[in-house]
Point group: C2
Chain length 260, copies 2
Amino acid sequence: MPQTQIIGIVGGVGPHAGLDLGRKVLEQTRATVDQEHLNMVLLSWPRCVPDRTAFLLGQSNDDPVPGMVCCVQALESVGATVAGIACNTAHAPRLFSRLIATLRSSGSGIVVINMIQEVARFIQCHFPDVRRVGVLATDGTVTTNTYGEVFSREDLTSVYPDVQVQRELVHGAIYDRTYGIKAVSSPVSERARAAVLAAATHLLNDKGAEALVLGCTELPLAVSERFLHGRPVVDAGMVLARALVASVEPERLKPFDMGA
Amino acid sequence: MPQTQIIGIVGGVGPHAGLDLGRKVLEQTRATVDQEHLNMVLLSWPRCVPDRTAFLLGQSNDDPVPGMVCCVQALESVGATVAGIACNTAHAPRLFSRLIATLRSSGSGIVVINMIQEVARFIQCHFPDVRRVGVLATDGTVTTNTYGEVFSREDLTSVYPDVQVQRELVHGAIYDRTYGIKAVSSPVSERARAAVLAAATHLLNDKGAEALVLGCTELPLAVSERFLHGRPVVDAGMVLARALVASVEPERLKPFDMGA
C-alpha cells in the first residue's frame, strides 16, 4: 500500500468525464517527473450507477445512490482518503446527502468533496464581483436547483436557461444518441458544440449572467474557452480537481491561471 | 460489487499514459450510453513504481516490480479479473516475468495481458505482409530488446534507431524535463513531436522498417497519425485497449478501423 495519500475518483458518470477529471488532477499538479504526481484511483463502473437525471426526473426508478456508495467504499478499500464524483447531477441534494448519510452510517471515514460547494467558493475567491452565475447543466441538475441551493447560501444567484433552450440545446447536446457528447466525444460533434455555445450566449446576453459554470462534466469536452463574450467560464470539474489536489498536497497545487 | 467483469489498468507509469489507456478502452467499445461502457478501475500510483528504464539500465537500484505487484493486487481486490499495464518498458522480460511469477506465487488469479505479445499478433492479423517493424521506445525497452524477443518468436524482425537517434531524439522526446512528453503533455511540445517524427522517418527511410510501433505509451500523445510515409503506425496502447475489451466482452469490441 502506498505511504502517501490517495485521491479517489468516482468515474463512469459518464466514463469520459471520469477520465477527464483524472486528467485535470494531473494538469493542476506541479510535477515534472512521473513520481511527483499524486497517487490516484479511478473507478469507472457505469453499469453500477444508473442515470442520475432519469431518476431525479421520475423517468426511472433505478436509484443511482447504492452504486455510488459501492464505488466510494471500493475507493476507500484501496486506500483513498478523499474522493470526488465526476458528475454534477450526482450532487443534487436528494442524491448527495443520501450518499453521505449512507457512507457515515456504514462507518466510512472518507471525505467526499462537494463539487458545487467548491465552485461557489472558487467564484467568490477568483471573481469576487460576480453575483449572477449562469448554469449549464443537465435537466436533472437544473430541475433540482442543485446549484441554486448552494449558491443562495453564498450570496450568489444561479441563472438557468429558458425551458426550451434547456431542453433543446443543453440537454440535447449532452444526451442525444446521435450527436450528444455522451455518444460522440472523441471529438465532440460540431452540432453539440454549437448548441452549448448558443445556450451560453443566451445566458450571458438574454439572462444577465455575469459568469458561466459548466455544470455537467461532459460540457468541457465541447467548450474549452476560459472566457465567452468577455465573461469567465468556470469548469466545475477543474475546480473539483484543484480541491482534490489541495486536500492531499496543497504545496503541489499549481497557482490558478486566469487565462484571458 | 459489480456483476459484470472489471478491466484493471496499472496506470501512473506514466500518469498521462494510464488515463490515455483508459480513454482508448472507451474508444474501442461500442456504446452510445454510459451504461453500455465496460466497468474499469485505474490505479495511478506513480509514487509506488520507480522508473523502469533507470532500473533496467542500472542507473537506479529502485526495483519497480514490487510496486507493480501491489498495484495489480489492489486491482484484483476491487474485482478486476484482467489487467493491462500502461507502460511498454514494464514488459521487459526482467520485469514482466518477475511480476507474473510473484503474482502467481501469491495466489493471484488475475490475467495480466502482455502488451508486446498483443502487438505482434495485431500486426500479423492486420498487416500480414509486414516483416520488419520499427520500434520507437524508451532506452529501457530498446536496450533490453523487449520487442525483439517477442517478435522473433512470431517471425517478425524488430528494427531500432541508430544509437544517437535513440538517445537524442526518442529518449529526449520522452524524458527531457523541459520539453519531454512526461514533463509537458497538454499539449505536447512542438520539439518533442518533431523529434519523434524525425526518428520515425529515420526508421522508415534509413533502416528499412515496413511499419512502426509506438512502443512507449507516452508517444501517441505526440503522434496521432495512423500512417507515416505510407506505412502503418501501430499504437501499442490502442492494441492493449482492444485486447482488454475483447477479454471481457468481445461483442462490444469495435471493428478495427484501418484509417488511411
